[in-house]
């Protein structure tokens, strides 16, 4: 016995020194530093190329409503407004549908249906953005005009949300396309979060005499709420940054209107549309300034949402101590 143990120890001792260890550590550290370097480089380049625009436009860029490259007047508010209006409305719709889909898949659907259905929802995310745009222009927009916007306008046209002219292309089309594009993210993440809710929570509610819906409301949703909020953040990030499909259906008019029938413009769209014709230095720099703004808006949205998740999960962190 002792001889064998001694032999093993000798063998173990021979394996030192280990060169792999520092090499591995160096490689992974380098990989992480690369990410940091890319982000830092991006911000520096965007900020410095936007500096001409920042100097020319001043702070008024943030609330200026005129975008007139010919007269060198650049105000970004219509784009900020358009981005937030479409992304937030689409997110609200996608959350309602997506959480419903997730609840159905996890809590109600028979097993043979849940698999294929979940897969199809994930497929929605695999469709290229430009295809959504094409579909939006040629199918969705005319359909919305004839069957949604005209009836809405004729019955509720007195509301500011449905005033204007029903032409199909506009904020409503952008919201619908964005909703479909954000939906798979929200649904898939919510589904994973909801299926991670322990069965003991459902049993706790059931044992108190809860119905199926009451069990979901009492045992499932509160437990999953921080994760569902996280799903919303991911969806919002996609909605704010989405460019191609929105550009194709929103109408690209830098106006601020409450109406869903009106045409709008987003930050991402104006950059995509106008960078080829931005011939003057100030024009080009102002577009990049919008890019900088988009970056900042995304950061703020993410930070705010993260704060919200943190606040919400703060009250339930103790649940892990329970076990």
């Amino acid at each position: 016995m002792t001889v064998q143990v001694g032999a093993v120890r000798a063998e173990l001792g021979r394996r030192r020194p280990r060169f792999g260890e520092p090499v591995f550590r160096g490689l992974v550290a380098l990989a992480s530093l690369t990410v940091l370097a890319i982000i830092a480089g991006l911000i520096i380049v965007i900020a410095s190329t936007a500096s001409t625009g920042i100097a020319h436009n001043g702070l008024g860029f943030l609330w200026g409503t005129t975008w007139d490259p010919v007269r060198n007047v650049f105000g970004a508010l219509p784009f900020i407004y358009g981005t937030l209006l479409t992304a937030v409305t689409a997110l609200i719709l996608a959350m309602l549908i997506g959480v419903g889909v997730a609840l159905f898949l996890v809590e109600l659907s028979p097993r043979w249906l849940a698999g294929p259905l979940g897969f199809m929802i994930e497929m929605l995310a695999a469709i290229p953005s430009v295809v959504y745009g094409l579909w939006g222009i040629f199918v969705l927009a005319p359909w919305l005009r004839d069957y949604v916007e005209v009836p809405l306008h004729s019955t509720l046209g007195w509301l500011p949300f449905f005033s204007g002219y029903p032409i199909g292309i506009g904020n409503l089309a952008a919201v619908v396309v964005l909703t479909i594009m954000v939906l798979p993210t929200v649904a898939a993440v919510s589904r994973d979060v909801i299926s991670a809710v322990p069965g003991s929570q459902r049993e706790a509610a059931l044992a108190l005499g809860a119905t199926r819906w009451e069990t979901i409301r009492m045992g499932v949703l509160p437990y999953a709420r921080s994760g569902i909020l996280g799903a919303g953040i991911l969806g919002l990030a996609r909605g704010v940054g989405e460019t191609m499909a929105v550009t194709m259906v929103i109408g690209n008019s830098p106006t601020i209107s409450l109406s869903f029938l009106a045409q709008g413009y987003t930050m991402a769209s104006v950059i995509a549309n106008e960078f080829t014709e931005a011939t003057t230095n100030v024009y080009r720099s102002s577009l990049i300034e919008i890019g900088l703004l988009l970056l900042i808006v995304t950061l703020i949205v993410n930070a705010a949402a993260r704060l919200l998740v943190w606040r919400v999960s703060y009250t339930s962190t103790s649940r892990s101590l329970a076990a």
């Binding site: 097993r111 059931l206 044992a207 005499g209 437990y223 339930s316 103790s318 101590l321 329970a322």
Partner: protein, 268 residues
């Protein structure tokens, strides 16, 4: 159920008769022909080795067994003379009359302690704040938790210690004044001091409820129960009832050889 909900009544426990109960997971039979009589206002312990189906048995008593996909049962469970598996019986109503406490404490972690206790009452549609307050305090007192939480009723249920959480779950179960309380190894995830508290609690609650407790701890069964039912695993893998009777009798003078071996030997 004639009296006002949430109002404690002594000796309101009712009897449960289990008649020829078989339980299955898919095609696998886990319980074989269980017939057992649970008298009102007694504590009945269900004991037996792992895999004998004692948890399945207790889950059949409030129709929680059928919640598991593929699970079903045959036979009758009579609650106060009425079969809970009869056609047209709503399991939701059954579960309001038969409370349950689980092995792992499962308070609603995001709900306050107060809301946890009155959760069942709110499900039943009771909104009267003064009644809710009254029931919350009484239930927490009876669950021996009031003194520890009276100053933090608004704190989340998940913030309590494991033993406190289990007493919170007991308070939640008894707040709706069920006729029967089922306990599935309620102390097995707890430390000895918390276990002792739970056992004292069971002793105090027996005057008001019929209690059925599953335990793998023989001493616990001997300490808390009036009646003991002993299950074991048959050759084909399904659990069956070996014998039942008054706890002192089962532990000191088991009628069957099998019981004696199991009680004095393999478990402790």
């Amino acid at each position: 159920m004639a009296d006002r909900p949430g109002v404690a009544v002594e000796n309101r426990g009712v009897g449960v008769q289990i008649e020829h109960l078989d339980a299955y997971y898919g095609n696998r039979r886990v319980l074989h022909d269980i017939t057992l009589n649970v008298a009102p206002n007694t504590v009945t312990a269900i004991i037996g080795p792992s895999g004998c189906g004692k948890s399945t048995l207790i889950r059949c008593l409030n129709r929680m067994h059928e919640v598991t996909p593929g699970a079903r049962s045959t036979g009758k469970v009579m609650l106060d003379g009425d079969d809970i598996y009869a056609a047209g019986v709503d399991p939701v109503v059954i579960r309001q009359r038969i409370g349950m406490v689980f092995q792992r404490p499962n308070p609603f972690p995001t709900m306050s302690i107060y809301d946890n206790v009155v959760a069942g009452l709110k499900l039943a549609g009771i909104r009267d704040r003064s009644l809710l307050d009254e029931v919350a305090e009484r239930s927490l007192r009876r669950a021996a938790l009031w003194d520890e939480v009276r100053d933090k009723l608004g704190a989340p249920g998940g913030a309590l210690s494991g033993g406190q959480q289990q007493r919170l779950c007991i308070a939640r179960a008894i707040a709706v004044e069920p006729e029967v309380v089922l306990m599935d190894e309620p102390a097995s995830a707890l430390d000895p001091m918390s276990t002792l508290k739970i056992e004292e609690l069971i002793d105090a609650l027996r005057t008001s409820y019929t209690i059925v407790i599953v335990t793998h701890n023989m001493q616990q069964a001997a300490r808390v129960s009036d009646q003991t039912a002993f299950l074991t695993v048959g050759e084909e893998g399904s659990g069956f009832l070996v014998e039942e009777g008054p706890t002192p009798l089962i532990f000191t003078n088991p009628r069957r050889q099998l019981t004696e071996v199991d009680i004095s030997g393999r478990f402790g």
